[in-house]
Symmetry: C2
Subunit: 388 residues, 2 copies
């Protein structure tokens, strides 16, 4: 009987446990299961949880629960730690290592594989994709992303109505999304926008340096036309060279998740309006109220298929999603070599989507699942044009 160890790594998502449950469901009868608690650190420190029926039931019970039930965490997985991890796996006679994670995890799996080879020990490795940022290569998209995107699209739509209500008091809100260097999530903020007057009125992506003048001009136009403006910025956005704003920072330290505050203060000073910066927060990746049903389904199916592949001996691959060219959204699950995933590096929002957000929203819409809310126009009356 194959002895399979499975773990989760990095920032969790709302559906990472669905992938785990799918995987466990498909191998539990034919394999001995060991659960790694605490991601890579758990491998190194042998935080192994024996997969008896009670533990397996508990894992399956977590299917619809956000966060990583095995604890994913962060850990400096340097060469020495990897060697230690392999010794742990060898000691416990583990045949197969499966991890649910992003770019770093796919790289880690391959390093563990190579180190096992060096230690003269055959280890099958398989990766299951997970990222809210959607910056993982080799796959059309990764589980976790669509639910986060849906949460952001809905929140932006709702906050547009909220701010519009208060426009005699507060005129601009700068919403900051996750996404690191990739703009998939920030751009998703506009996916459910129905009207010109509805936000977001400006989206700042990390792929493009933010120009002061363009930002100000767009916000000014929204203020003139609609009386308020919603700006969405990705946490990884940077000012265009030479347009960097000078701020009195304490000891020159940069503040995590601070770009929205900087932009908000800049707009307030330049246009003399009341602004507010708002981080959409960790709930973007944990928000079970806004789960995409498609994302939940795919997360589980990818895990299940991964389980089958483990039984069939697939090695050094990640379970990826392919999209079939068709009028309808049809996904297929296919293996992609870990090497290929790693070679692709961080997958940014492609230029054809940046220059044509409508095309991006066409691509994105099926992933968000149904229930796109339809709201009436914001105002019944033509908003007067006023100088700002």
């Amino acid at each position: 009987m194959k002895h399979v160890a499975v773990g989760q790594a990095g920032g969790p998502t709302a559906v990472i446990n669905a992938t785990l449950a799918g995987f466990v469901e498909s191998v539990k009868e034919q394999c001995q299961l060991t659960f790694v608690e605490g991601g890579y650190q758990g491998l190194v420190e042998e935080n192994f949880l024996y997969g008896d029926s009670e533990v397996i039931d508990w894992v399956l019970d977590n299917q619809s629960v956000p966060g990583a039930c095995l604890q994913s965490g962060r850990y400096p997985f340097h060469d020495e730690a990897i060697a230690e991890a392999v010794r742990s796996l060898k000691k416990h006679q583990i045949d197969t290592l499966v991890f649910i994670g992003g770019n770093g995890t796919m790289e880690a799996l391959l390093k563990v594989k190579k180190e096992a080879e060096c230690q003269g020990y055959f280890l099958q490795v398989l990766g299951l994709p997970k990222t809210v940022d959607n910056d993982l290569g080799g796959t059309d998209h990764a589980p976790g992303f669509a639910s986060a995107a849906r949460s952001i699209a809905q929140t932006t739509k709702d906050l547009s109505r909220d701010l519009y209500s208060m426009k005699n008091f507060e005129q601009v809100r700068v919403l900051e999304t996750m996404g690191r260097n990739a703009g998939w999530l920030a751009a998703a903020a506009g996916a459910w926008r129905e009207y010109e007057e509805e936000g977001p009125h400006y989206i700042a992506l990390p792929e493009q340096p933010l120009n002061k003048d363009t930002l100000l001009r767009t916000v000014k136009e929204a203020l003139s036309s609609y009386g308020y403006a919603i700006v969405v910025v990705s946490e990884g956005v940077q000012w265009e060279q030479g347009s960097q704003i000078e701020l009195n920072q304490v000891d020159g330290r940069s503040i995590l998740g601070g770009i929205s505050k900087e932009i908000s203060e800049f707009i307030s000073e330049e246009l003399n309006v009341n602004t507010r910066a708002e981080l959409l927060g960790m709930n973007q990746r944990a928000d079970t109220s806004a789960l995409s049903p498609i994302d939940t389904y795919e997360a589980y199916q990818l895990g299940r298929e991964g389980g089958r592949w483990v039984l069939e001996g697939y090695d050094e691959v990640m379970v990826a999603v392919g999209r079939e060219a068709s009028n309808y959204y049809t996904m297929e699950i296919r293996p992609v070599k870990l090497e290929k995933v790693i070679a692709e590096g961080e997958r940014l929002l492609p230029a054809q989507f940046i220059t044509n957000l409508k095309a991006y929203y066409q691509w994105l819409t099926p992933l968000l699942g149904g229930d796109r809310p339809s709201y009436p126009p914001l105002s019944k009356r033509r908003v007067e044009y006023s100088e700002h």
Copy 2:
């Protein structure tokens, strides 16, 4: 035919438009309707939208949309502005003024009424309740509160799982809720807590000064027992006299929504752990993904009943919710004099709930509606006790 003007004031909620729709539905056949855009400012500046059938349909279409579709806003409604507002109403031959709002609105309505009397003009006034803070007197609770409370309860539950996943990297999160001087919303964060190890592990209410030692001791205990801690603080929380933390603030200015950051930094320094402050943000009051079905229902019904009372000539009252003593939750709608509402002032979380949160959650649970999520325990293994 009675000429009725209706408006919305103050911070919007996810269901304030449901109340408006209910009201409009019940008077639209028997009254001439005028909609006031922009709250009190709209009254003063005669931002009146004539209620023809097209406008009425648009208002009704907003029933499930968050934010105030008429724009509520904030405005310094001083005596001169009130006199101006009355002149506007008189000029447009308005017989009845209805506003959806909180404490300030009930006070404003009575002032408008008195000023109309002074101007020798009979004006019927009626208030419809709205507040996420639940600090409105004369009513068991007010529409908007339960949906915000549900959003907070769900988010706290989800973020517990999220942080637990990451506890080798980040140990404490300080979540900040709305509520001003009242702790109803902050306390609601624990309404769906199922296990000792699940957050929130500490809730700081504005009704009680926050003691440094109690906070630290509780967080330390959670860290020792579960490896992480979720602290929830109301935006109105203040440190106990003498336990005020000294911070290097720029020019000594206080930061709006800053108490969570202060508490987070304090815990980090004292316990040498990684912490993060997180404002739950404006989405608390606009979150349509976490709407309470009971709240939505009540919001509409209160509006509808208010419409009937307008036709029956009720004056100087607010439409309030009463709770019938019974094993089941049964609400009744009843009038309460505006004077009584105002005399009660800001309604804080009562002492019997502060000292017994279980009793508070029994009171709150029916308002949150169904679908309380049931999650499995966080860990299958006993967490080791470690010194911090």
